[in-house]
Subunit: 145 residues, 4 copies
């Protein structure tokens, strides 16, 4: 559906991941990278919880930001990166499962801006439990040489 | 401006903070609690950064969620809590200072829903640097006895 | 997918439409009503345009609000209505075609709140042109007897 | 607070207003134009209402889009215009007064993007009734010569 301007986008993302301190700190792993779509997962460790034992809303927003941002990043040319302009997240159900999944995808990409969405979910007894849905704008930024 | 339905809201919040694993993990401290308004701060430690060394957008959203949620929580009666329905955050400037501040406040509170806002900023040479602004809906939930 | 609490929801919506002054004024017609999903269309008449001849962003938001609100409304029991708590809209492409379509659907419905989405599009040479995507929270309100 | 790149921004806006079909159609009047801030008002005529007699949420969003967009537009150089990237609106109270006011202002303006906010309100017995608050991203577009 989308054609990347960077033929090595998978390698470029793996390189970029090394410096993602916050992502690595919370233990989020990217499991799938395609042009315009990125998926990953995280264990619901204790420190990610709010006071009721659910995945913290801020951690949920972090997952959305990560997968949507990487989804936009798959499409830009080498030497550019993307930053989040804004993100809106709706909290559909509490995140209680031991493993949480996140997927981000590009709705539309232009010269500078990309509109993306993201979803966070878990799986219980074969059913998908929707935890959150996000809508976001990403902007391409050319990295100074 | 706002009158809390919980005369002990400061003590109630301090009690609630103990279970805030994610907030405590990232080192966020509440520094001011008033009816309808809460303020706090955090050190920009390395693990909170994204790949360019800035405060991660997900961490920024977490700060907004915390202060806005606590601001709404100051106004509800004992035995109730608040959950985040949705949150939108706009990223105004990168967060680069060693100390980051966040403030949340209630715009309007009703029987169930509270509309809140939050801002995240730093201070450099006496100037306020706006890092993010958020708008959020919080819902009151009665805690089962 | 969704089961309505109102077996007569199609008739109830048609009754409700009569009082929808703004919707009727701009000429929006509902073309499909199902449990949790509503679709409609509008002609891009001159007064709906902004200065470049495109569908005005406010009119686009109006279409999203209408179809998302009606989608939520299909699911509530008789004697209740829904109001929009908040709506976020992303503008993907300018709306230039003579006929504009809108579809709203429910992501999740709870006791009080429904999370909905909406899209606005046109069709040109058999291709779907995405004009806007919206995410919204609707709240059920019991109509006083 | 903001310095416009267009010394004639007031005249430029008045010129731009002529082509604002939807704005003129609903009867919205700009009453104040400053660098980074625009205010206006509208009569709550019958066709702007939803089924309960309140200002329609789509009309409310339209007012926010207009004043925020014009606020951003005051700051860009001649030959450029602004388009709405995204807009989020929270509905605080129903709009029931005969006259409705709207104000938009710029939070931060960059090379391409401006972050703006808008509020819609009425006045009853000397009190300000908050109807809606919006947060929006505007993008500068260079008009082809």
């Amino acid at each position: 559906m989308f054609i990347s301007k960077n033929p090595d986008f998978v390698a470029t993302i793996h390189e970029k991941l090394k410096g993602q301190h916050f992502m690595n700190h919370i233990g989020f792993r990217i499991t799938r990278i395609e042009a315009g779509e990125v998926e990953g997962e995280i264990e619901l460790t204790n420190f990610l919880k709010q006071q009721n034992g659910f995945l913290h809303g801020g951690a949920t927003a972090t997952l959305c930001d990560l997968v949507a941002g990487f989804a936009a990043f798959t499409l830009v040319e080498k030497g550019s990166t993307v930053v989040t302009v804004e993100l809106k997240i709706s909290y559909l159900n509490p995140g209680t499962a031991s493993k949480i999944y996140a997927r981000g995808w590009v709705l539309k990409t232009g010269n500078t801006l990309s509109f993306c969405e993201a979803e966070v979910w878990s799986e219980e007894n074969g059913n998908k439990i929707d935890i959150a849905k996000a809508s976001t704008t990403m902007a391409k930024v050319i990295i100074p040489a």
